[in-house]
Symmetry: C2
Subunit: 449 residues, 2 copies
């Protein structure tokens, strides 16, 4: 990667101006996730097209086709190079280019979509737009390795109480950004369905397991970070350069089979309880778009003496990001009745104990190599109160207190036919436009018999 | 994958005839790893060549170049198709073809290399051979996901005693083929060096960790299994078809930082203690070549009541494989004195509690998808006695009893400059030719300062 100035701590520029508007009218719609200040990336194709998947940028209710854009005469230099890298069937090549190239493309597209763009530019750009309603998405990158962290101390404590009542929070938690390797092959893009997993579970009071469909199927509300430029084996990434290695963030649902997990997880961690499916949103919001929403690191214990490789002033002062998150649940009965998903949890990424930069610095401090397109999950982003709990396990206190739905149904864990929809957005009315993540949606199918 | 008869349980055929010889003289050398009955696969190139890596097959001290072979007129049909898939810079395409294709290529190459081959054939084949002494290897496949199991009950018990004296073997061990996801990006082929990792460790008696170079660096003696045809998400592989999904086995060293591991591993398992490096042998020995060395499942507890998805007569009667394994250590001083690696452990894969077929069936029973080129590690293959322990942690009883080397040096854990060499082979004098795995070698470099 090139030696451009670090994007961390972030600074604001003209693409963050809350007054900026686009000639694409839907980008000004109230509540849109995709104003001109956002410009997130996905990989898509027209639903009826025989053409292949290619990179795109969201604007209002449209997708800007990067393949078409590279064939216009609207870009040059580094922005064109970045668009060409992004026009492929995965964004890995664009991710590898680094923050200077990402920013060049972002600024060029911002200008081309801005209300001040000339009529000629707008006419050419119109040829590069497709309605989001007419496209389908694929995974945005070939994911080499998927790592999941555990950055919410609230989640770690809530779950610890259930799995280990005597020892809820391990002594290493406030020192180590705990993480583990997940399964890359089963990461799917929003909109898919998957079968309820089967496996070994230990019935209450039993000493021998039985083979069963999972009876405690859960979601985990997370964000995913896609790695930009990688690092070579044996070459750690320092904390204050770590965010230069992050292309952007997506929504992530780390589906979990709690009964399988409880029986299998010792001593080597979760395996079949997690690797049957992980769902991510198609849209990746860039770190630059999130700059207005940086906040100081907030820790309930006030800890400030992280080991040196995890500590910096920038990390303490702006390491967190205020990304609002929620989870909606729509049962089959609700969908048949035309009811929208019922929101059962609202929280924010600002509550994380460990930051993105700390995740990257920790992951590489032993020499481990990250590669462009690798995915890092934040872990379940539970906040300080029960209604901010990012998993059913926590919301229902281990399955004891059901969640009530508007139609009278209740859930302790997920039922077949349930659809789970995660959403994420940033807002700071007056000083910044709302930046959204779109949605991350999937439906539970019955287990194999 | 096609619906050919399962290769499990294995049957013997003409390629297993111990009397068969090759016109390549070195294939008859005493102690060769690569007689005509073996024919393992690797990806290689000539060390001085500008040409790319391509698949090859070992015979004696030579490599048969599959790219050259496909350009001869010596193959046709399925064997040619398999050779073309194997002639690329990774073996993923060959792996995807399945056992019928692998066997067709194996039988065709066996005949072409057999002493009975005509002079014309031998002349053409000579043009496809390169001395192993003049080639370099790459990873044999693009590894999508790497999973590591824990199939030796002796290792699990030995390590458990050190990490959890009160609770050495978890109650799930004899029911669940325990596994976890490892790091694919840091898997390297034999011959590389890597830096000693750094990380958080908890000094004895301390309550707060320090940042340090690893002081308890260890090896783990394992075998790796490369996945052939994958399975779709949500479609488990049944036990008696599971070996059809295994292309073959290699040697694997799962390097481990024991001090980092002890501090980080709860509750989500090993992470930075393992993901800095994993070394595999270049050669993959096919399941067909290993057929003469199948043995009954041997368990010290005599357990036979595995859950139904993990139980079959074939698995019980021939699920194990008698692959002898050893580890040699050569310190810098030993190498400077021209001394060979000193063997400190000799064991066999026959002692594993869980079989390859059980690993595949368990991994997929929840619907998890395996892909061609995925790597499954067996876990450390310790046998029943102390001198069969596959890790220094066990051999030195937690670092308390040093291993003595012939030159008077001792080791509890690895020192900078140490070179570790694993070897594997099958032998059954009189009824089968010796089948070898070559070597798996790497050297420890000093940590970053």
């Amino acid at each position: 990667m090139n030696s451009t100035p670090s994007q961390f701590p972030s600074t604001l520029n003209r693409t963050h101006d809350p007054a900026a508007t686009s000639w694409v009218a839907s980008a000004q719609a109230a509540g849109t996730d995709f104003p001109i200040q956002n410009l997130p990336f996905a990989v898509f194709r027209h639903r009826d097209s025989q053409e292949g998947f290619r990179g795109g940028i969201a604007i209002g209710d449209q997708v800007l086709d990067l393949w078409d854009l590279t064939r216009s005469d609207l870009l040059d230099g580094l922005a064109l190079q970045a668009a060409e890298a992004g026009a492929k069937s995965s964004l890995n090549a664009l991710m590898a280019l680094g923050p200077k190239a990402w920013s060049a493309l972002r600024h060029a597209v911002f200008d081309l979509l801005h209300s001040h763009a000339s009529a000629v530019v707008q006419q050419k750009m119109l040829l590069c737009l497709e309605p989001q309603a007419e496209v389908v998405y694929s995974l945005p990158a070939r994911i080499g390795d998927y790592t999941d962290f555990y950055t919410s101390i609230y989640h770690a404590t809530n779950v610890g109480k259930l799995f280990r009542p005597d020892n809820p929070l391990m002594p290493n938690y406030t020192w180590v950004p705990i993480g583990y390797h997940g399964r890359a092959s089963s990461v799917q893009v929003s909109g898919h369905s998957f079968k309820r997993p089967r496996g070994q579970v230990l019935p209450p009071g039993a000493t021998e397991p039985v083979f069963s469909a999972c009876k405690r199927l859960d979601w985990e509300l997370e964000l995913g970070a896609f790695i930009g430029p990688g690092n070579a084996l044996g070459e750690p990434v320092a904390l204050d350069q770590a965010e230069d290695r992050v292309f952007g963030l997506c929504l992530l649902n780390d589906w979990s089979a709690r009964d399988i997990q409880a029986w299998e997880y010792q001593p080597l961690g979760p395996f079949l309880a997690k690797n049957f499916a992980t769902t991510i949103s198609p849209w990746i919001v860039t770190m630059e778009a999130l700059a207005p929403f940086r906040t100081p690191l907030e820790r309930p214990d006030g800890k400030t003496d992280d080991l040196a490789y995890l500590r910096s002033e920038a990390n303490t002062e702006q390491g967190a990001i205020d990304i609002r998150l929620n989870i909606g649940l729509a049962t089959e009965a609700m969908r048949e009745a035309g009811q929208l998903p019922h929101v059962v949890c609202t929280t924010s990424y600002r509550h994380a104990y460990w930051t993105l930069a700390q995740m990257v610095a920790h992951h590489t401090v032993n020499g481990c190599n990250l590669q462009s397109g690798d995915l890092l999950g934040t872990g379940t982003l539970s906040g300080p109160t029960l209604d901010q709990a990012g998993a059913l396990l926590e919301l229902t206190q281990g399955g004891k207190v059901p969640v009530s739905l508007p139609n009278g149904e209740t859930r302790t864990f997920l039922a077949d036919g349930d659809e789970v929809v995660m959403r994420g957005w940033c807002e700071r009315p007056g000083s910044a436009r709302r930046i959204g993540f779109g949605e991350c949606r999937a439906t539970i199918l019955p287990a194999l018999i």
